[in-house]
Structure formats: C-alpha cells, structure tokens
C-alpha cells in the first residue's frame, strides 16, 4: 500500500498536478501550503492559542461548511426545479414525495440555511467580543457584515422558490417592508418584483438572485474574507480571564 502511494506520488502525472512535494523540513511544510491552490489561502503557521476550540468555537469554518452544504444540496435540487408558475410548486411537491432522497435534500437545504443564519450571527458576536473588528482588521469586519447581509438575502430569496402560500405571503410582506424606505422604497419593490405584485417576474428574479448572483457574490467575498484573515495577521482568539483564586 505504502509502496503504491509512493509510486503514484513519484509518477509524472501526479507531479504535474501537484506542485512540489511535502517534506518534514520546515521549508518543505511551508512550501506544501504555498504551492497548493486550496491551501495557499491559509497561513503557514498559526499560534497554538488560535486553534483552541474556545478561541473561536470554530464558528467561521462552520459557516463556511454550511455554505458548502447549501451549494451542493442547492445544485442537486436545482435539477428538478423550474422557476415558473405554477410548475415551481409541483416541482417542490415532486421533490418531497416522488424523487429519491428529495425530501432529505430539501430538509438538509432548509435546516442548513437556518443554521447558517444563526452560526454567521454567532460568528459575528464572537468576533465582536474578541475585538477583532479593530484595526488593522476593520475592513475585514466590513466584508463580514456584507457576508451577513448576503446570508440574509439568500435566506429571503430562497423563501419564495417553493411557491406555496407561505412563500407568496412572506414575500408580499417582505417587499412591502422595502416599500417603507423613504424615496426609493417603491422603486426597490418594483425592481425586486419586476412588477407591482408577486408573480412570474418576481419568481424568476428571486430565482436568479438565489442561485446565481448572491452565491457568486458570497463566494468571492468569502475568498477575500479568508485571505484578509491571513494578511491581517491571523485570527484574534477569545481570551477568558481566569477567576482570581480566593484564599
């Protein structure tokens, strides 16, 4: 087994795919990170304190993992979904009752979405209490706020897609809230719905936002967010003060 792995690792195709190899030397370990597309966003070295569970509660990576789950389940659900009235509703019913594992995927998508809103919010709280919004990380905090807003918009646009009563009225109410905004309110609602009421145009608009524009913006900003964590000097761990011992 070990021989086979070594043989593969020394083969031409493997070496053409993976730049350099890892060695046990410090330089080799660093190069393994630098030379990998997937790993290069990570710092080569991290402080022992910042990998402790209580330093971050792993909330950032949990948010990212939930995003990955949502992308994967979302792509699969998309194969059976037509964003049109009333087919969208029938597709949602088919996914629940007819398609193999469809109900499981819908539930996974739904719960991961709920969890993501919660976890992203907790991540923000954690960052706030650690004071990680302070210079030089103030811009990464701004990106984080944008990511939170995109998370909420993704959650909201996904709400309309089942095209059931809950979806319809939730979006009717939500877009009326947007209307309350001074001056621009009416225009925003009109653009969001592509009309004056929740109909075919609104469904396709929310669909395009939900499966294309918002996830793309999210992916790009996540990339910048991760990269800035490294460039701004790594994460700021939460520090818990020990209680003074009483004598």
């Amino acid at each position: 087994m070990a021989n086979l792995i070594n043989k593969i690792k020394n083969s031409g195709p493997y070496k053409s795919m993976f730049r350099g190899g890892s060695t046990s030397s410090n330089l080799g370990k660093s190069l393994a990170i630098f030379n990998s597309f997937f790993l290069h966003v990570l710092p080569v070295k991290v402080h022992r304190d910042s990998v402790k569970f209580t330093a971050t509660f792993y909330l950032g990576i949990l948010s990212f993992a939930l995003f990955i789950i949502l992308v994967v389940t979302g792509i699969l659900l998309n194969f059976y979904y037509h964003p049109s009235v009333p087919q969208a509703y029938y597709d949602m019913k088919d996914l629940t009752f007819v398609v193999s594992s469809g109900r499981f995927l819908r539930n996974l998508h739904r719960w991961a979405a709920h969890a993501m809103v919660l976890v992203v919010f907790l991540h923000m709280l954690r960052v706030f209490y650690a004071g990680a919004y302070k210079p030089p990380k103030q811009f990464n905090w701004v990106i984080g706020v944008l990511l939170f807003i995109i998370t909420l918009f993704l959650s909201y646009t996904g709400y309309l897609l089942p095209w059931d009563q809950l979806a319809y009225w939730a979006v009717s109410v939500g877009t009326n809230m947007a209307k309350a905004m001074p001056v621009l309110g009416n225009k925003i609602r009109f653009l969001l719905l592509g009309g004056h009421e929740v109909g075919e145009n609104a469904l396709i608009r929310f669909y395009v936002l939900h499966i294309f524009i918002l996830p793309l913006a999210m992916a790009v900003l996540i990339g910048i967010h991760f990269w800035r964590v490294r460039k701004d000097g790594g994460i700021t761990p939460l520090k818990f003060k020990k209680k003074k011992q009483q004598h």
């Binding site: 046990s24 699969l76 059976y80 088919d94 398609v99 193999s100 594992s101 469809g102």
Partner: protein, 158 residues
C-alpha cells in the same frame, strides 16, 4: 511515519490521517451513489408508447398518414393491409417527412431516403425504418404500440 516501539500502535497523527482518508472516501463514494440515485427520475410525464392513431375510415386505401406528434407513419396500401412505420430516421434520430409527389420518405438532416415500406434507398441511414406493432380495437380504432418493433410479416389486414 514514526510508529511506537511495539510497531503495532498507530501514532496520533497517523490515526487522524487514516480516519480522515476513510471519512473522505466514504463521503465521495456515498455522495456519488446518493447523487446518481437522486438524479434518476422516478416518475416521467412522457407520452405513452401506446396511442390511438384514429378510426379505420380515416385512413384511405393507398394513403400514408404522418402523425407528427407520435412520430409515426400509418400506411394503408391498396393490397388490403396496414402497417405502422417509425418516422424517426435510423441515422441520428431526426424526424423524417413523407414526400407525396416523389413517393418516398426523406430525412432533412443528412439526406437519407426510405421507401414507403421503410427500406433504405439512399444513405447514410444504416437500417430500414422499423415497423411498429399495430392493431385495431373493437371500436374500429387503430392502436399503435411504439415500444414493440415487429416483423414485416406482421400486418393489420383490413
């Protein structure tokens, strides 16, 4: 890499590496099986292969009727029998057309030509147009089953 003295116990890093590899493999294999199962539709709303082509009197002797929806020719000749011919070209699946004035079936895509009995007159079609199962029910309606390809001898005498 470094095993403990007795040579049997895994080191901590080796244990995590192997566990991680196993979990990743299970996820990839399981996920692929799961996705393939999900992507195979359980219910299809495609039209039935068995359809009613019309009443017997709709087909005059010596006529070729093109059913575009079902992609079938219903041929009633003057020798007193009927047969059904697939209208899908055997070359690459284009829909052929019956040319009344020339008395041939021709394919617009790559120029294949077939006789009214389905034989290839000109390539590139490799095979004749298949004959489909045809029958008449007790209301004098012609019923065609596209899923069953039949021999040239199996005809509907009328």
């Amino acid at each position: 890499m470094d095993k403990k003295e007795n040579g049997k116990k895994l080191s901590r890093s080796q244990f995590f590496l192997k566990t991680g590899m196993a979990a990743t493999s299970i996820t990839i294999v399981g996920g692929s099986i799961f996705a393939l199962d999900f992507l195979s539709p359980n219910v299809l709303l495609e039209p039935s292969a068995i359809f009613k082509a019309g009443l017997l009197e709709d087909f005059a002797p010596g006529s070729v009727t093109f059913d575009a929806k079902n992609r079938v020719y219903i041929v009633r000749n003057k020798k007193g029998y009927m047969y059904a011919l697939s209208a899908v070209c055997t070359h690459l699946g284009c829909l052929t057309r019956w040319k009344e004035e020339e008395g041939i079936i021709s394919c617009p895509c790559h120029g294949s030509r077939f006789s009214v009995t389905g034989e290839v007159l000109r390539g590139p079609a490799p095979k004749p147009l298949p004959r489909l199962s045809i029958a008449m029910d007790n209301k004098n309606e012609i019923v065609v089953d596209k899923s069953t390809i039949v021999d040239e001898n199996q005809i509907l005498k009328v």
